[in-house]
Symmetry: C2
Subunit: 350 residues, 2 copies
C-alpha cells in the first residue's frame, strides 16, 4: 500500500524535545513542508520564538497544547521525533488523546504502531478520524520484475557510501531545484520521514524482503507519467544490516542515473564502526556493476554532506572528491544543486 | 524466531498429486529425511507401489487416510506440495482435520497460513497439538552487524546464477558428504522446504527487509559451535525480485567459501525470461566483490544441475564450465561431492 496523506494543516508534536537531535523529523518538516505546518505542540517551549531553538527556520508558533492550537484549524498532529527505540514518549500521549478527541488525524513514523494502541485506536474510531503509522506499509505482495525500466519517467536514485550521508535531503533538494527549472519532477519517499514530508510513499525497510524491490517498483509506477523522479535511497551496499534494502531499491527502481552521497572525513561506518568505508571510486564502480544486469545506470554526480565543516574545509573536500571521481561534486545545502542537476540533465538528455 | 520441529514420524500429504511436479516438497523429504517418514497420505494413490510413481525412492507405504496410518504412530502431517498460488487444495482439508482431531501436528510451507484458519486452529487447540507454518518466521528484529564473521564455524554459502539451479540440494548434498567424512557439519535452512527437511531454520524471504540479514546472522549463531555449516542460498544477485534477499544472505552469513550453482544451457532467467543470465565468470566476480567489504569470501567450486541431460552432454558442460572458471566443477547428484568438498577443505584448511 502506498501511503497517501491528504493533510495540509499540520501540528508538529515535539513535547519537550524541540531543538534536540531527536526532533529531526520536525526540523525536516519545517524545512521541506513549511506551508503545511500551522504550529508546534510543545508545552515546555510554548510561546518561545522558534529561532531561539532552531536555526534557519522561518517563524512558526509553539503551542502548549491542542486547545491553544485549535483556532489555527489544524487537521492532523504529526509525531515530530525519531527516538532511539521508537516508542512514544509518555509526555506526548495526552496531546494525541486531545487531538483524536477533537477529530484530528495522527501521523507517526514510530516503530511502535500507534494504531495498535487500544485507547488511541478506539478514540480515532469514535471521533471518525484516523491514525497513520507510516512505517507500516501494510500488505505488499509484488515481486519485482524490472518493470520500472519500462516506465517513461526518468529515474534518479540517491545512493551513499554509508547511512546518514544525506540521501533523503539530496533527493529532496534535487526535486525542488528541478521544479524551479520547470521540470515536472517528483520526489519518491522510501522511508518514514520522507513519507511525512511528501505525504505519500512506502517505508521499504518494513516490507517483507521478497517484496521490497516490488514496493520500489510500485513507487516508480506511481509517478510513471512524470518527467523525472528523484528516489530517496536507503542504507548502504556494504553495510550488512541494510545492503539488502539498498539493492532492492537499486533493482526495483532501475535508475537511469545515480547520485553518490558521501560525508567527507567519515572513514568508518556510522552504525558499524568496526568496518572502514570503502573508497568512493570503488563504491561508484560496484553500484554501476550491480545495477547493470537489470538496467544500465550511471553515477553522474556526487553530493557531499559537509555540515559542520568550515567553508575552506568544505571547498577542499569538494575539490578532492571531484578530482578522485571526475564527477561534478557539490553540497546541495551549501552550494545549491545547479551542477548536480546539470549533470543529470546532460546524462538523461533533458 | 528459529523454527525447531521435533517430529520424527511424518506423514507426507500429497492427496492426488504424488508424482506431479507440485509434490516436489514430498520428494525432497523422501530423499533427505527418509528415516523420519512413516508414509504418504494420498487416497488417489493408496496402496500403489511408490516406485510406480517416483524414481529413486525407497519403499514407503501410501495410505488413503489418517485412520489407516495411525497404527504406524505418526506424530505429524507435513503438507508435501508447493502449489502455484500457495493455497491449500480443498481435497487436503479433510486429511488435516482428521490429523488434528487425533492430536497429530501439522507442518506446512504454504503461503496461506493454516494457523490462521479458524477451524484448523480451533481443532489444534482443542486437541492440544500445533500447526507450524514454517514460511512465517514470526517476529525477527535483529539488524545484522557482521557478527557471523566472528563465529568459529566455517561458513559455506551456495549461491547461483539464477533461481532454481540447485542451491538447496547442493548445500544438503555437501553437508551429507561432509558428515560422511567425519566433519561436524550443519545444514542451515533458509527456505520452507529446507526447514521441513532439516527441522529448523528461518524462511528469510518472509522477514522484514530491515532484518533479513539479521535473520541470517541468527541462523549462523545457532550453529556457531559446529565445525562447518552449509547455508542454503536464495534467489540471484541479478534478479530484481530476489537480489535483496540474496545480498542479505551474503552479508548476514559472512561466507568463508561460496559454491556457485548453475544450470547449463539456461541462458534466460527462469522467472524473468526477458533478461539474459550474465556469464558465470562475471557472476563469480561480482559475488566476491560484493561480500568483500564485510568478509572476504571466495567462490571455490561450481555445482552444476544437469538433470535431464545425457551423460555425454553433462560431461561436456562440466568440462566447459571448469575450463571457463578454472574451478572444480561437478553435479553433486550425478558425480557426487568429492571434488567440491576437497576444494572447500583446501580453502578452509580443514
Amino acid at each position: 500500500m502506498i501511503y497517501d496523506l491528504p493533510y495540509r494543516r499540520l501540528l508538529l508534536l515535539t513535547e519537550g524535545l524541540l531543538g534536540m537531535f531527536s526532533s529531526k523529523t520536525a526540523v525536516c518538516l519545517l524545512r521541506y513542508r513549511r506551508p503545511h505546518v500551522v504550529g508546534i505542540l510543545d508545552s515546555q517551549n510554548a510561546g518561545k520564538p522558534i529561532k531561539s531553538l532552531l536555526q534557519d527556520v522561518s517563524d512558526v508558533p509553539i503551542f502548549a497544547g491542542v486547545p491553544d492550537a485549535l483556532p489555527h484549524k489544524p487537521d492532523a498532529v504529526l509525531v515530530g521525533i525519531a527516538p532511539v527505540g521508537g516508542a512514544l514518549p509518555q509526555p506526548m500521549r495526552q496531546h494525541l488523546i486531545d487531538a483524536l478527541s477533537k477529530g484530528l488525524a495522527v501521523i507517526s513514523g514510530l516503530h511502535t504502531l500507534l494504531g495498535e494502541d487500544p485507547e488511541l485506536a478506539e478514540l480515532a474510531e469514535r471521533n471518525n478520524t484516523r491514525i497513520h503509522d507510516v512505517r507500516d506499509p501494510g500488505p505488499i505482495h509484488r515481486i519485482a520484475q524490472g518493470l520500472a525500466r519500462k516506465t517513461r519517467v526518468k529515474r534518479v536514485l540517491t545512493v551513499g557510501t554509508d547511512c546518514g550521508v544525506g540521501k533523503m535531503v539530496t533527493a529532496l533538494e534535487l526535486q525542488r531545484a528541478a521544479l524551479k527549472l520547470g521540470l515536472d519532477a517528483a520526489f519518491v519517499a522510501t522511508g518514514q520521514t520522507g513519507i511525512m514530508i511528501e505525504g505519500w510513499g512506502i517505508a521499504v525497510d518494513h516490507v517483507l524482503s521478497d517484496f521490497t524491490a516490488g514496493a520500489a517498483e510500485l513507487l516508480v509506477e506511481h509517478v510513471a507519467d512524470r518527467q523525472i523522479c528523484f528516489v530517496e535511497g536507503q542504507g548502504s551496499i556494504e553495510h550488512p544490516g541494510y545492503s539488502g534494502v539498498t539493492l532492492s531499491l537499486l533493482h526495483g527502481t532501475c535508475p537511469d542515473a545515480m547520485i553518490m552521497c558521501h560525508r567527507p572525513g567519515r572513514n568508518l561506518h556510522s552504525e558499524w564502526p568496526e568496518c572502514p568505508i570503502a573508497p568512493i571510486t570503488q563504491q561508484i564502480d560496484i553500484h554501476e556493476r550491480i545495477v547493470a544486469p537489470v538496467h544500465p545506470g550511471k553515477v553522474v554526480a556526487v553530493a557531499l554532506h559537509t555540515a559542520g565543516m568550515t567553508p575552506d574545509a568544505a571547498d577542499r573536500s569538494i575539490k578532492s572528491i571531484a578530482d578522485q571521481t571526475n564527477l561534478p561534486t557539490a553540497d546541495p545545502i551549501r552550494n545549491g544543486c545547479d551542477s548536480l542537476i546539470e549533470a543529470i540533465r546532460r546524462h538523461l538528455d533533458l
